[in-house]
Amino acid sequence: MKVIAVAISCLLALSAVSADTCFSDVSMDCSQASNSLVFSGLPSCNAIYGHFSRQGNVASELQAYANLHLRRSYEYLLSAAYYNNYQTNRMGFSKLFTKLSDDTWDKTIELIKHITKRGGTMDFARRSTQETITAAKNSTIELQELESLAHALDTQKEIAERAFFIHQEATRNNHKTHDPEIAQYLEEEFIEDQAETIRKLAGHTSDLKQFIVQNDGNDLSIGLYLFDEYLQKTV
């Protein structure tokens, strides 16, 4: 009986070596009398499946995506601070940026968790291939009201378009990196909300533009005040 069992496990071990499965790792090491398990570490026993972390750029783009969220989150926090100082004193704008900061912060942690869920590791130095180096440098936090909304709109679009890019890499049109789990995760957790946020910000800039343009610009100071009050109540 014992002999047969050993023979079977040996056979299994041999036949499965090339298969690279967790089971083959386990049965190969467990069939040996010595403590080979200590050294082997069962390399195939991990959460990685599909192409994730193996082929293509979905895993590394997700790392970069988490970093983008982290960076934007602290940028929005600074904008929120700027609009809360006594000279600008626009609490509504401050609230708007605080919300953007909180949301992108939560997404940062979400993304890190999801990367590790799929067997990946987080690399905080990773940048996307989509990123332009110049864009990040010459940005200042201290913008006027409409400018700040414009900047928020642009950066939110960048975040949304990055999701599109990763999604595209993960869809079946791309055989090398096809990953439906990542595609649906992006759709459910990011893409839907992003459309909402972008539409809202675009609406804000459109309203604010009206206040500036119409009535020969005489509505400007009261318009900005009222719009800030409106943001305080609705954000």
């Binding site: 602290y74 926090l77 601070a81 700027y82 890190i112 987080m122 332009t132 864009a135 400018e147 610009g217």
Partner: protein, 215 residues
Amino acid sequence: MKILSLAFFLAVCSAAYATQCNVDPVNVPKQWITMSRGCRDSVRKQIQMEVSASIQYLAMGAHFSRDSINRPGFANLFFEASKEERQHAMKLIEYMLMRGELTNNLTSLINVRAPERKTWSSGQEALEDALKMETEVTKAIRTVIVNCEHDRSAAAGQDDNDYHLVDYLTGEFLEEQYKGQRDLAGKATTLKKMMDRHSALGEFIFDKKLLGIDI
């Protein structure tokens, strides 16, 4: 294209028609703004330190979330700690705004840099590392207190004691630091005892305990 249009937008709004898009800045009396420079600079530095700590905790959360590490309790603990550090930075910012600060030089206030450390050999090591980090933060807060209680760079005759900020840092921040340190030290001790003879089991059980699961 995007950069071009942004540049165009900036040019339109800030240069040619400066008054078209914004209300000119107004001046109100400034005598009420009394934070001294040395004190202000110290708080600014402290804000950056809290941000860096938040990112370091993120890296710890990421490490313990990995499939080969699989310690969701530890990961949770560190992600929560990360959120707390961010909250501390926000509280300090809030305070400075109350005192009339942060009207300029906002952009350089926070720098997001990759964390220094990325892996830990065990939960025990991470807890001790966290405790070390908190001790450093506490020390830094004490330095801010010293600088705000007696600002050496203040002009002669200027009242250089920022009583209120010193009280706020002492009462709120140090209190939280000491409680946090005690909590981490207690956890590190318990875990170390559990690891004494049954390290794999000890860490597993401790992790589930952190998750609130009794096994």
